[in-house]
């Protein structure tokens, strides 16, 4: 299997006042193509720092990070921007859609920063991405005309549109209710089954059960890295709905 992400003895140190804080203190793991990894940890465990480095928004203090065969340590700011633009799809907790901009234009945004994509191709790919998240009928809606779940699906379409090697999701269900969370996880599982590689940062254990592997961080160290039995989010959703109905009766 192809390695998408290789991390070797990764350190990230912040200087706070006169003290060095080791947010990441020697982390090593590899994510292979087609994996659906959940990265877990409490706040302060270093998972946000790790995500920033995985997303090429931040560079490690020491250690090696290779994404799709490219060593990130050697890149400058502009090269990192291009790398993010071509290799990574971001999904944020608070969706981060541009206000007063249609779903279609929001999805097109990453391709606007890619000279190789023509306006025509940009549109076609955005439409295809919106179809993949089953929002083709809401293309011309503004974010404020969409529900939270729909907004997150637009954000996922935006993460898909540049055909990244990995999708990084940061607490992507954090702002959603249980039912919508299951729907979003169903979508992620659907994408995973089509071969997408996904790293999903969460602090909710039941969300982590929908992935294929869990990496648990504590105080900047990996304390657990194991393959797990993937639960079906679609089944969970169906059970949840049944329970709701039962309660209603």
């Amino acid at each position: 299997m192809k390695e998408i992400i290789e991390i070797k003895d990764l350190h990230r140190t912040f200087r706070v006042g006169s003290e060095d804080v080791h947010a990441l203190d020697g982390i090593t793991f590899t994510i292979y193509e087609g994996e659906f990894v959940s990265i877990m940890g409490t706040s302060g465990s270093g998972k946000s720092t790790l995500l920033n480095i995985l997303g090429c928004l931040d560079t490690p203090t020491s250690g090696e990070y290779i994404i799709n065969g490219i060593s990130v340590n050697l890149l400058n700011k502009n090269q990192l921007s291009t790398l993010r633009n071509r290799q990574i799809g971001f999904v944020f907790q608070n969706y981060n859609l541009l206000a007063r901009t249609t779903a279609l234009d929001n999805v097109q945004l990453p391709l606007m920063y890619n000279h190789e994509v023509s306006a025509k191709e940009r549109r076609e790919r955005a439409v295809a991405a919106l179809e993949a998240v089953k929002l083709a009928d809401r293309m011309n809606h503004m974010p404020n005309q969409l529900s939270g779940g729909q907004q997150q699906r637009v954000a996922i379409a935006r993460a898909l549109v540049n055909d990244p090697v990995i999708i990084l999701a940061d607490e992507a269900t954090g702002n959603l209710d249980t039912r919508t969370s299951y729907e979003i996880m169903t979508l992620f599982q659907d994408l995973h089954s089509k071969g997408k590689t996904i790293a999903f940062v969460t602090h909710e254990p039941d969300i982590a059960t929908f992935t294929t592997r869990t990496i648990k961080l504590r105080d900047g160290h990996v304390v657990l890295d194991e393959k797990i039995d993937q639960q079906s989010a679609a089944v969970a959703l169906a059970e949840y709905e049944k329970n709701i109905q039962n309660t209603a009766i």
Binding site: L57, N78, S81, F92, N96, L109, P110, Y113, R158, N162
Partner: protein, 410 residues
């Protein structure tokens, strides 16, 4: 990110805050409109003065006696008797760049015709005077050298004199009017010229052969010197050459040694024009400077709003950077916003400036309508420069944001 996309994004962003964008532009609009108005006003007034001056003859040269000092007392110009017949003859015969020379000898007398009378200023001149001063004959003829020789009692009168003396619509040509005690025959009427640049009525004039004035009018009786000499250069461009030539001849005529001052003054029309328009020029510059200050204030308005915009859209900037926007892309995005803001403001300002200039110049002042294309072009460039200059720092601030911090900004 190509230019078209940049412009599209910038316009979309500006349209999101229509009211704010307009108020920001207002500073630029007022600045540019006032600069254009001031420049138009200045140019128009210069052209106005120039137009009135050229009605006096643009290649005209005035030669007048210099002031004389007698025992430390300034006696004024007219006290001098330095310009005489000899000067006239040598200027007529020995010059290359002087086309015509005419002396002037002034006298005043009450003009009487029938029951009407009018205070007249009689000007004794040579026949070529009307060529120098660009007078046209409306009726009759100008007197000739023959009249000069005979000290003929003939005159040519201006329209103001006609209006005041011939109130019953008589034909002035052929009539005899009394100038003081001297009866004079009107042989011609000058076409109207209106006022000159200094507010004198150029039509309130009685032209008489200068010999007649010198011999027949008491106030100038026995006088052989002239009040002034009027000359015209062969061409407008030769005015300076002609003036040099005249200076040379007059100095040698008057026996002025090297190092001594002239006992006469020479003014070309160009000099007078320059002197007069320098006032307007300074005033125009001053007003334009004030207008330019308002443009700078407008620019600061843009800068202020761009700072607000950058802060307000920190999250958007963070997102754009996370999905692949380079610092340069962000810089250009905000820069193009401020440039578009100031260019649209400038465009509206130019339209307003031209409209207001038109209203002021054509409808209120009745001056020539001069719209300086140069001023419009420069205004446009200044707008673009204002946009870049005042947009640069806010845009740079946006471009330097750390995407991690910007994404978490609340």
């Amino acid at each position: 990110m190509n230019i078209l996309n940049l412009v599209k994004i910038a316009i979309t962003a500006l349209l999101r805050n229509k009211g704010r964008s307009f108020l920001t532009m207002l500073g630029i609009i007022i600045g540019i409109a006032s600069v254009i108005m001031m420049v138009s006003l200045g140019r128009s007034s210069t052209q106005n003065v120039r137009g009135e001056f050229s009605s006096m003859g643009s290649n005209m040269i005035m030669i007048m006696p210099a002031r004389q000092m007698r025992g430390g007392v300034n006696m004024g110009n007219s006290s001098s008797k330095s310009l005489d017949m000899k000067d006239l003859k040598s200027l007529e015969n020995n010059t290359k760049y002087v086309a015509h020379v005419s002396p002037t000898v002034g006298s005043s007398a009450q003009l009487v015709f029938g029951a009407n009378n009018h205070p007249g200023s009689l000007t004794g001149v040579a026949p070529c005077y009307i060529d120098i001063r660009k007078y046209e004959m409306a009726e009759g003829i100008m007197f000739t050298e023959e009249h000069l020789k005979r000290y003929a009692k003939v005159c040519v009168i201006g329209q103001t004199v006609v209006e005041n003396l011939f109130t019953n619509g008589e034909d002035p040509v052929g009539q005899t009017i009394r100038c003081g005690s001297v009866p004079m025959k009107v042989i011609g009427v000058l076409a109207s010229k209106g006022g000159n640049g200094m507010g004198q009525d150029q039509d309130d004039i009685v032209l008489v052969p200068y010999t007649t004035i010198q011999t027949r009018f008491a106030s100038a009786n026995g006088r052989t010197s002239f009040n002034m000499l009027f000359a015209s250069a062969t061409r407008e461009e030769d005015s300076e050459l002609a003036a040099t030539e005249i200076t040379y001849i007059l100095r040698s005529n008057h026996g002025i040694k090297e190092g001594q001052e002239d006992d006469f003054d020479i003014r070309t029309q160009e000099e007078i024009l320059t002197a007069m328009s320098s006032v307007t020029k300074v005033l125009t510059m001053l007003l334009t400077a004030i207008a330019a200050i308002s443009l700078i204030v407008g620019g600061i308005g843009i800068m202020n709003i761009m700072y607000v915009t950058v802060t307000e859209r920190t999250k958007e900037i963070g997102l754009r950077m996370a999905i692949g926007a380079k610092s340069k892309d962000v810089l250009l995005q905000f820069l193009s916003e401020s440039v578009i803001l100031s260019l649209i403001g400038g465009l509206i300002g130019i339209i307003f400036g031209v409209l207001l200039s038109y209203v002021l110049l054509s409808l209120v002042l009745h001056w020539p309508m001069v719209i300086s294309q140069g001023a419009i072009g420069i205004s446009f460039l200044v707008c673009a420069a204002t946009g870049v200059f005042f947009g640069w720092y806010p845009a740079k601030k946006a471009a330097n944001l750390d995407p991690i911090v910007a994404l978490r900004y609340e």
